[in-house]
Symmetry: C2
C-alpha cells in the first residue's frame, strides 16, 4: 500500500495544478498539510476485491472523493470560522474567506472533472454525493443549539455529510474495476456503514479525548451547538444529570460551562450507548463483506472498521 | 420561445427540488427572483441551428449552466457581503453566510448531476468551466485595489468568470443536438465572444448607468477595488484626469470620492474605448455565425450580441 499511498499524493497534487500560481497555492494548502486519505484508500482497496493491481481509474476516483472532502473542509472552516486544521492555519484564517470559498469551489470543480473522466455514471454519482453532503450539513444547521434535536436528525445528518462520501468512494472502486452489480452494491453498503461508524466514533472522541489528542478543545461540537449522539443519549437518559445538561446547553458555551457539560456527558451512559451504535454499524460493514469475493482486499475491508473502536 | 422559457423555469425548479424543505427554500430563493436566463436560452438556440425542435437535453444542459451561474452568485454575494440581488434580499443577508455557502454548493452539485445525465463529455466540460470561473474570480481578487492592474489581467479574468460559461452553454447546445464538430467549435467561439462583449458592457454600465437603472449604486466595482476596462483605459490615457483618477483609487472609496471618480471616467475616453472593445467581440461573435448552418436560430444568434450595445 506504500506505493499506492504515494500515487494518491502525486495524483492529488497533479489534480489541483493550475496555471494560476496563487490559486494553486490556495488549493494545495490543506492537501500538503496531510490527512489520512481514508476515502481514496477505500476506493483503491474496493477496486481490488476481485484481485488485480491498483488501477489508474481507482486512483483517480479515489482522489475525486478526497478533493470533495477537502473542498468541503475549506467551506466548513469558513462556516465555523476555524483557525487551524491538520495542524496548519486554515485557508480562511491565512488568506481570507473569499479565497477559501473560491478555492473550495475549485477543488469541487476539479473533483467533478476527474469523475467525468471516469464516465457519466461516476460523474453523476459524485454530483449526487456533493448534494447529499449539503443536505447533511443543512440538517445539522437546522438543529444547531436545539436541545430537543430528534435522534433521526443526527443519523440523517451524518449519513449525508459523512457516510455518503465513504459509500461513494467504495462504489466508485467497484465501478471502475468493472465488478458485478451485486458486488458494487455490497461495496456501497459497506462504505455507508463504515462511514456511519467513523462519524459516530469521531463524535465520541470530541467528548472523550483530550485537547492534545484532538488538536482542538474537547467539546467543540457542543460549544458550536452541534449535539451529537453521546450528548443526545445523555439528555434522553432521564434523571438529574440529563436535566442539568439540558439546562447548560441551548446556546454558545464558555469554557467553564463546556467543561461542566463535558463532565456530565463523560460520567453518564451516553458515550457507551453511542459506541454501541458505532459497533452496530461496524457489524453491518463486516456483514456486507460476506457478499464480496474472498481475498486479501476483502480481508482488509473486513477488519478496518473495527479498528475505529479498538483504538479508543 | 415563450414555451421554451416556461420549460426552462419549470426545469430549474424541478432541479433544486429536495426532500429537505429548508434547503429547497434556500436553493429556490434566487431562482424564483427571476433573471434573464441568457445562458439556457443560448443553449436552446444553439441546439436548434440545424433545425428541429427544442430538445429535452438542451433544456437540461441550459439549466445546468444557469444553476452554475446562480450557485456562483450565492458565493459571490457572501464574498462581496451583498445585501440585495435581483430585487430581493440575498441568501446571506436573509439567512446567513453558512446557508449561502451550502446552498451555493448544492446548486453547483445539482448542475454537475444534470450535466452527467447528458454524458461524460458534458459533465467534464461543466466541471472544467466551474474551475475556470474560480480562476477568473481569483485573478480579479489578486488585482483588487491595484491601480497598476495590467489590461491582460482584466481580459483573462472576464474570460474565466463570464465568457467561459457562455461558451460552454453554447457548446453544450451543439453537443446534445449531435452537431458536427466544426459547428460545435464555432458555437463555442460564438459563446466566448458574446460573453466577453456581455461582461465589458456590464462593466461599462456600472460606470454610466444611474443607481435606479442598476438597482445598486453606480461605481460599485470601483468602490470594491475591481478596476474594469473603462477605468483601466482612463488611467492609461495619460493627462491630468488619468493622474487624478489614479490618486483617488487604490483603496475603498466613500460616496463622495466615488462620485468624483465616476465623473472623471465618464468625462474621459475610457468608456468609449471599452465599448469599442465590446464591439470587436460582437463582430467576432457574428463572424463565428458564418460557420453555422443558415436558418432562424443562426439568425437569432447573429443579431443578439449587437443588442447589448444598441440598448445602451
Amino acid at each position: 500500500m506504500t506505493g499506492d499511498r504515494q500515487r494518491i499524493e502525486d495524483a492529488l497534487l497533479a489534480a489541483v495544478q493550475t496555471k494560476d500560481a496563487y490559486l494553486n497555492e490556495l488549493a494545495r494548502h490543506l492537501i500538503v498539510a496531510g490527512g489520512k486519505r481514508l476515502r481514496p484508500v477505500l476506493t483503491l482497496v474496493a477496486a481490488q476485491v476481485a484481485g488485480g493491481p491498483a488501477l489508474h481509474g481507482a486512483v483517480q476516483g479515489g482522489i475525486a472523493c478526497e478533493l470533495v472532502q477537502t473542498g468541503s473542509l475549506y467551506h466548513d472552516d469558513v462556516i465555523d470560522e476555524s483557525a487551524t486544521r491538520r495542524g496548519v492555519e486554515t485557508v480562511n484564517a491565512k488568506w481570507g474567506n473569499l479565497q477559501a470559498i473560491l478555492a473550495g469551489d475549485f477543488l469541487l470543480a476539479r473533483a467533478s472533472e476527474i469523475a467525468a473522466s471516469l464516465g457519466a455514471e461516476v460523474a453523476g454519482l459524485l454530483g449526487n454525493t456533493i448534494a447529499r453532503l449539503c443536505e447533511g450539513e443543512i440538517e445539522q444547521l437546522r438543529h444547531t443549539y436545539d436541545v430537543s434535536r430528534p435522534e433521526p436528525s443526527y443519523f440523517s445528518s451524518i449519513e449525508g455529510k459523512t457516510a455518503s462520501l465513504f459509500s461513494t468512494a467504495a462504489r466508485i472502486g467497484g465501478i471502475v474495476a468493472g465488478l458485478d452489480r451485486p458486488v458494487i452494491d455490497a461495496l456501497t453498503e459497506y462504505g455507508r456503514a463504515y462511514g456511519m461508524a467513523f462519524q459516530i466514533v469521531d463524535d465520541v472522541l470530541d467528548i472523550t479525548a483530550t485537547d492534545e489528542q484532538l488538536g482542538k478543545p474537547a467539546g467543540h461540537d457542543m460549544v458550536e451547538g452541534v449535539y451529537t449522539l453521546p450528548v443526545l443519549r445523555t439528555m434522553s437518559s432521564g434523571g438529574v444529570a440529563a436535566d442539568e445538561l439540558r439546562d447548560l446547553l441551548g446556546s454558545p458555551l464558555n469554557a467553564v460551562v463546556c467543561d461542566k457539560a463535558l463532565s456530565i456527558v463523560r460520567a453518564g451512559s451516553g458515550v457507551e450507548q453511542a459506541l454501541s451504535a458505532a459497533q452496530a454499524y461496524v457489524t453491518l460493514a463486516v456483514e456486507a463483506c460476506a457478499l464480496l469475493p474472498a481475498g486479501a482486499a476483502t480481508d482488509a475491508l473486513r477488519t478496518t472498521p473495527q479498528h475505529l473502536l479498538d483504538s479508543l
